[in-house]
Subunit: 219 residues, 2 copies
Amino acid sequence: MNFTTSEENHIKCIYHLQQVTGLVNTNSLAAEMQTRPASVTDMLKKLKAKKLLHYERYKGFKLNEAGKKAALDVVRKHRLWEFFLVEKLKFDWDKVHPIAEELEHINSAELIQRLDNFLGNPSFDPHGDPIPDKHGKIPVINQQNLSTVTLKKMLTVSSVTNQSVQMLEMLKHYNITLGSQLMVLKKFEFDESLEIKVLKQSPCIISEQVAKNVFVQYV
Amino acid sequence: MNFTTSEENHIKCIYHLQQVTGLVNTNSLAAEMQTRPASVTDMLKKLKAKKLLHYERYKGFKLNEAGKKAALDVVRKHRLWEFFLVEKLKFDWDKVHPIAEELEHINSAELIQRLDNFLGNPSFDPHGDPIPDKHGKIPVINQQNLSTVTLKKMLTVSSVTNQSVQMLEMLKHYNITLGSQLMVLKKFEFDESLEIKVLKQSPCIISEQVAKNVFVQYV
DNA sequence: TATTATTTTTAGATTTGTCTAAATTTATTT
DNA sequence: AAATAAATTTAGACAAATCTAAAAATAATA
Ligand SMILES: [Mn+2]
Ligand SMILES: [Mn+2]
Ligand SMILES: [Mn+2]
Ligand SMILES: [Mn+2]
């Protein structure tokens, strides 16, 4: 089936929310979409008519299989374009989201398939988020939040959830990028900050706020 | 200023029509846009309000300087994306138009600048049409229609105006692509067909219909 | 449990882009 | 010049996506 840009944006947003909460409610979707609860209700009726979600009024909603498939298709396009923008056009990672937010709505299966091949069928976008394949299959990643990790074990940075300029600035300062190797030396109970050692650099301290946005894998 | 997708499509279409006719009229724009004359009139009011064209009702219309600038910006984006699709994603040239028709509406000056650089600042799109630079400047080309050319002079194919699968099939059969070298040996008065010799191939005959869509430069 | 607060939906309006049918203007023929 | 034809515009309608304000349902609290 074919969806409008607005429908695709809503579907994708519901998908992300239901990953966290299971069932999604009207106000949270409205907040996330920067729109009004009344507008969300309108859209829910359309998406229900297209049989993309389970929805009973006043009771919350979530995507069914068809809805999840549609969401993953948009996510795939979004992340492939982000990869293109960073790897080929040399954008900084904090600039690509709004552009990918538009590119993801270009509908051409052949375009995306060719783009995927051109990019070398990448598995992760520039933020470390997995890129679903054309069937909606997502590579499994065994990652863990940096703030919950065992001390003195070697780690690799696999993704970063906050993708703002500010975050990029911080990570650049610490010389951390996706794939960086590091180890947590100590956790300070006072403010939950961490002393870490990035490979080939002297130890430094990062705040709990930073740590909570960084995900890692054990090497 | 920022324009809607529909506005951009209309502006671009007016630009192409006025290249040929000077002044454009409602019916031709409606025909070209596959829409209704009444819808064109509606759009003209909007574009006039945005000060993009000279328009007096019942008298025809044409873009002013601001309108031409806006049109060239869309043309630039369209042709850069077409170049990307053919050169990088290996699309056949007859498949790229509808996709570029959508990509051209992604609005990000930085995206287009980076794309332009990534592609090596090309001057011509896959159909041989010139790509305006970011100021709207178009490379001058001294090309001539193949059907009006001097006999027995060496020529280079510089552009092809019909971009259908059918045309691509014909040209592939004759082994002609952009940049091919050829020479017209004889013009048959009976049906205006041409005997041509493509470099390294034996002479053959092409119809007037084909010739009229092929533009060349003297070597 | 009754009252109050929060969440969600409905009712009705607005904007954009399009359409059809009818009216108007301009162009072309007798 | 009058009649006819063609082009163009207007009037009024509709669908999509959004909004505000009010009503209804549900949740939280006294
Ligand atoms: Mn989007
Ligand atoms: Mn991303
Ligand atoms: Mn377009
Ligand atoms: Mn082209």
